[in-house]
Structure formats: C-alpha cells, structure tokens
C-alpha cells in the first residue's frame, strides 16, 4: 500500500487531483440532435404491418432517408427494418432483398440502381402480394412495374449543378475559361453517372448563354477522405492553376473543402456538389463550399413510406414524387442547417 505522505504518495495524489481537475475543466462536447425516431413506436392506424427498406449502399446520405422512413413507420405503428450493404454492391443488395421478401413483409421499399438486376425480386414481391415502392434511384424503365418512385431526376439536377458551378467559377476566378472538375466517387453508379452527365450539359448550356468556354474533366474520388483528398490534390497539381471549379456528383465536395482549407486555397475556385450531410453544411457555412444541391432525403424515406401506407389503406396506387434539387448556399444555409440538425 502507498503511504499518502511519502514522495510517491504525494506524486500519485497530486497527479490524480491535477488529472481530475483537467478532466473536469474540459467542457462537454456532446452535440444535441441525432438519435432515433422522434416518434414513439407502438399504436398507429396500421399497427403490426411489417415494412423493410433495402438500400444499395449504407453511406451517410441515407441517414435522413432512414429517419424519414422510421418516423413515418412509428406514426403508423409499423415494424420497420432498414438494411443494405456497407458499400455499394449489387449482388449483396439483391440477396438482401430476397431475404427481406422471405421475411414476409407487407411492403418493401427498394432502391433500383440498374435496369435489370433487381427486377426478379420486384416481380416476386408483387406476385406474392407484397407492395413495392422505389426510392432514391429507380432506373429508366421502372414504370413497367406500375409502382411508385420517390426521388430526384438526376440528369436535371446535374444540369442545375452545372449552371451553378459555371456561375461560381466566374465569380471566384473572374475567368471565362478553364477546367471544371466533375467528381464521382462511385463510377458505375447510374445515379452519379447521370448527375455527371447533367453537370456537363449544364456547363455547356451556361457556356452558350454567357459566352464562356469552360471545359470539364471527370475525376474519380472516393468516400474515403484521405484517398479523395489525395486524388483532388494530384488533379490540382496536374492542371497547374487551370482549374476554375469543382462540381462533385455527391457529397465529395466536402473533401475538396477540406483539401482547399489545408492548402489555403479556399475561394480560389468554385466548389459545389450534392447532398446535405453535416460536413457539407458546415463547409457551406464557412464559405469553403459555394453551394450544395439537396434532394430531400428525408422525403425519400417519409414519402416513400406514406405512398406505401396509402396503398395498404385505403388502397390508392402510388406514383412518382420528385424530391427536387434544392440549392443550398450562403443565402439560406442557416435555415437549412437548423432543419437538417436533427439528422446529424
């Protein structure tokens, strides 16, 4: 046992007090918001219905989608389940959908990222009397199933992004020519490819209208920050000051913001992209990102569930609901950040 009056005892005692004081002096950094559904599960007009939502990739974008789905499910009294592979994987998604259907749900909500892989499961669900709604991504020909879809028109949203980035490129650099980099962290994803296509079209249209001659180059980024920053840095170095803007097909403009801050390059080019995840909103707030396009992910959960509820009772057929392309920039960031805080 240590004698409290010995030198070792004094050192240990003093150290403990100093340590405790230091710990107590640190203010709590707990953030408010987040957590599960705001609504209490239990009774509801459709109590006991089982609904499963299968996404193709559980990236941060889907957090508000899940919340919207679970919020609506709680109001209805549903048993809800939200599943998907940790990274985009068509085969795994198909398998999860099949397992979900074997759980005999009353309804399912799927994302459909290509035009054939998921059709077998959709047909099986419909043949077995399970209601199906598509959310976020539906593919070109989803109407053939006669089912509803809640999501964004990716090409048009890309066009909005293209026009916006051209405007900010001019504003930030004053130049009428230069390269706008179109980032894509998941080549092969039809949604992101369509957005990139739309971005190019939007920039082309803006060039014609405003007499500019911006060109585009596609950069494969990553959802991994260090990998993304590394490829962004390499691209910037390779173009030697020729880059006037960065338009990313998803939330990877947050990585452009991180990189630009580190290199003291914030404001030297236009930066924009998609989605309203917290790091993107923070960067819009501090000016490292000029704009981001929201697609109302909460609605992609809530409205998809609501369409399903309507199909259960009274039985209205579901239809298309466009979640739009909301432009979020310095002018409206405060209100949007407040709204989105509950999903952080």
């Amino acid at each position: 046992m240590t004698n409290p009056l010995s030198r070792r005892g004094l050192l240990i005692g003093g150290g403990s007090i100093a340590g405790a004081g230091l710990l107590a002096g640190c203010a709590s950094e707990k953030e408010s918001g987040g957590g599960g559904s705001h609504y209490r599960k239990g009774d509801g007009p459709q109590k006991g219905k089982k609904v499963i939502f299968v996404v193709h990739d559980k990236n941060p974008f889907f957090a508000p989608v899940q919340r919207g789905f679970e919020d609506f499910g709680a109001l209805m009294g549903w048993k809800t389940q939200f599943i998907g592979p940790p990274a985009q994987d068509v085969q795994k998604t198909v398998e999860l959908q099949a397992s979900a259907l074997n759980a005999k749900p009353d309804g399912v909500i799927f994302t459909r990222i290509d035009n054939s892989s998921f059709d077998g499961n959709i047909r099986n669900a419909l043949a077995g009397g399970t209601k199906v709604i598509l959310s976020n991504t539906a593919g070109d020909d989803y109407q053939k199933f006669g089912i509803g879809f809640v999501g964004q028109d990716f090409v048009s949203a890309g066009q909005v992004c293209g026009r916006q980035i051209a405007e900010y490129a001019k504003k930030r650099t004053g130049r009428s020519s230069g390269v706008i980099v179109c980032g894509n962290f998941a080549p092969g994803s039809s949604a992101l490819e369509q957005r990139v296509q739309g971005i190019k079209q939007g920039i082309e249209a803006s060039n014609k209208e405003n007499g500019t001659s911006y060109t585009t180059e596609v950069l494969v980024t990553s959802t991994d920050e260090s990998k993304a920053v590394s490829s962004i840095d390499a691209k910037y170095t390779s173009r030697k000051g020729g880059i006037v803007g960065w338009a990313m097909a998803a939330f990877d403009h947050q990585f452009v913001a991180t990189w630009a801050k580190g290199k003291n390059l914030t404001g030297k080019f236009g930066v924009g992209g998609f989605d309203l995840v917290q790091p993107v909103l923070d960067a819009v707030k501090d000016g490292a990102i000029d704009f981001s396009l929201g697609q109302n992910p909460y609605a992609q959960g809530w409205i998809a569930a609501a369409l399903l509820a309507e199909e259960f009772d009274p039985g209205y057929p579901a239809r298309y609901y466009d979640t739009g392309a909301e432009v979020v920039n310095a002018s409206n960031i405060a209100a949007v950040a407040k709204r989105e805080a509950r999903f952080s």
Binding site: F82, D89, D114, G188
Partner: protein, 338 residues
C-alpha cells in the same frame, strides 16, 4: 505409398478409418459442422420463416456464387497462397461477358467460355508473377484487385452493361430446373463435388496439400511447387469466371462495381471452413459449410429484424464465434490427439 503421398498424408486428415461416429468426430470439418448445426438450430427456433422451403432455397441460391469462387480459393489457400483480386475479377469478367455479348455481338455460347478463359488467364498471370518473381501473393493480387476494378470501369464506361437475353443461357445458368431449385445451386454442388474429388483422390490434390504444408519437403520429393501453385491460381480465376457467367445470367446485367468487397466473404468462408492461411490444411466440405454459415447468418439477421448497421456487427461477431467453436471442437477431436 509414394513419397509425395506420404508428405500429403502428413498434412491431411485421414478420416477413412474407424466407426462412422469416430470418423465423424475425427473429421476436420466436424468443428464447422457443429457450428453450422448450432446456428441452424438458433435460426430455426428464433427466426420466423427460416425453415420455409422458399427461404432455404433462397439461401442456397445466395451462397452459390460465393461457394463456387471459394472452391477455387480453397485450393489456393491450402497451397499456401491467397487471391485478393477475386472480387474485382468477378466484376471485370461479368462486365467482359456482357460487353462481348451486347456491345461486340459475340454469341453467348462463345462469350461465356471466353470469360472463363480470361479468368483462368488472369489467375495464370497472378500465379506466374507470384512464383517467378517471388512476390507474396497478397501483394500481387492486391495490385490485380485495383487493375481489374479499373479495367471493369473502363470497359463498362462506368455504367451497368446489359447482359444476354438468350433464354437457353439464362435457363442453363440460373433457371429453375426443379420447382424452387435454382440452377446455380446445382452448379455449386457439381463444382464442389468435382473439386473435393480432385483434392482428396488425385495426385494433384496430394500435391496441393504437400506444397502448402511443407514446400521444401515437397520440392525434395520432386513436386513442382510453382506449377501446382500457378494451377491453383488459374483454377481460382476460372471458377471466378464461372461465377460471373452465372451472375450475368441471374441478374441480366453487369455492374462494374460487382464484387466490391466480395473477396473478404470468399476468404471468410474458406477460413470459417477450417482452412489455415499458413497453408497445408483445409477441405472443400469445410468451405461449403463456411459458405453456408455466412449465407445463413446474412439471411437470418434480416428475418430476425436486425437493423442494417447492427447486421455488420452481428455478422462479424458470429463469424468469429463460428471460427472459435470450430477451433474448440477441432482441438478436442481424436485426430488432434496424435
């Protein structure tokens, strides 16, 4: 018994002697078999609808592709090597097949064997680089993983490519020859049966165990270790090609991101099945049971109503528990005592 067979026998479990019970308890697969039974019983009791015929056949369908690639990987792991590129190769070959059929116009009857041959060729190259340049296979195949994923994206131009709509092809690789029984399950059974025969009854199978168990002793016995390993790489590539052909027939298209992380599932099935990554140990029955365990866990977690994020945690924990149970039972089994 030849010297080669003696070396192989030192690293294989002889489960052919004694009573059926003794043989069962002595089999290397008994541990993973016990783990499979435990998981099955838990799921049967707790997960509503788990034992439904549709569900069990759906699980079988889901593990078919994994099991086919894991068959090749078992040969490779027993030979003391590993292939981390099978996920990307799976994606590349699926895209290659769809591209050949719908963009070039090659008939599916020619394109499918071509995809399998390409897989074998990629495996051959991986094997040659590994053995001739003495570079660890995980480094070589890690590089191949990146190259093949990029190649798939380039070939597909970043978007999914539509597959063959030939009904005979679709029926052959992914139809339902018997009610509720998908063709890919029959492909899996046939491939595992042939693989098990080759591994346990042929000279090549003995050589695989010998090379993985003790390379220098195998070399001393005149076994061409490099050739055996290269053959295992090529076999893994070819079976990945078979899996890709089945996938394209099943899903009707090929996404360049197909197989993202797939290699980990394949390696997990092989390791859960009792194969040691150091080489020299493992069996195809064990691998098949390993694939069944991973498939059952994924399916049952959905039936149990487990939320997506928890499924990742639960899958990892259950695989670890299955491996531990396997090791525990294997240590107590009679063959370990000599």
């Amino acid at each position: 018994m030849t010297l080669q067979q003696e070396i192989a026998a030192a690293y294989r479990v002889d489960d052919s002697a004694g009573t059926p019970l003794r043989r069962l308890l002595g089999a290397r697969e008994f541990g993973v078999f016990a783990a499979t039974i435990v998981i099955f019983v838990v799921c049967a009791i707790g997960a509503d609808g788990f034992l439904a015929t549709d569900n069990l056949l759906s699980i079988a369908q889901q593990i078919a592709i994994l099991g086919i690639v894991a068959t090749g990987m078992t040969f490779l792991v027993i030979a003391g090597e590993i292939d981390l590129s099978v996920g990307s190769l799976h994606g590349f070959l699926a895209v290659e097949l769809a591209w050949l059929v719908t963009k070039v116009g090659v008939p599916i009857g020619t394109a499918a064997p071509l995809a399998i041959l390409t897989g074998a060729a990629v495996g051959l190259v991986n094997g040659l680089i590994t053995t001739k340049f003495k570079i660890p296979s995980f480094v070589v195949t890690l590089a191949a993983l990146s190259v093949l994923r990029g190649a798939a994206l380039l070939l597909a131009n970043g978007v999914p490519v539509r597959g063959s709509r030939d009904s005979a092809f679709i029926g052959l690789v992914s139809g339902t020859p018997l009610p509720h029984l998908a063709a890919q399950v029959l492909w899996l059974v046939a491939i595992v049966a042939i693989g098990a025969y080759v591994l346990t009854k042929t000279k090549f199978g003995f050589d695989v165990y010998s090379v993985g168990g003790n390379r220098s002793a195998a070399a001393g016995a005149g076994i061409p270790a490099d050739r055996v390993k290269i053959s295992c790489f090529a076999l893994t590539g070819a079976l990945t090609g078979v899996a890709s052909v089945i996938l394209v027939g099943w899903l009707g298209s090929a996404n360049p991101l197909t197989g993202n992380g797939f290699e980990l599932g394949v390696i997990a099935a092989v390791v859960v099945g009792g194969a040691g990554l150091a080489g020299g140990t493992g069996s195809l029955l064990g691998t098949l049971l390993g694939a069944v365990i991973t498939g059952v866990i994924t399916n049952a977690l959905v039936l149990f109503g487990v939320d997506g994020n928890w499924q990742q945690v639960a899958t990892g924990a259950l695989i670890l528990a299955a491996v531990m149970l396997n090791q525990l039972v294997a240590r107590r089994s009679p063959h370990r005592r000599h």
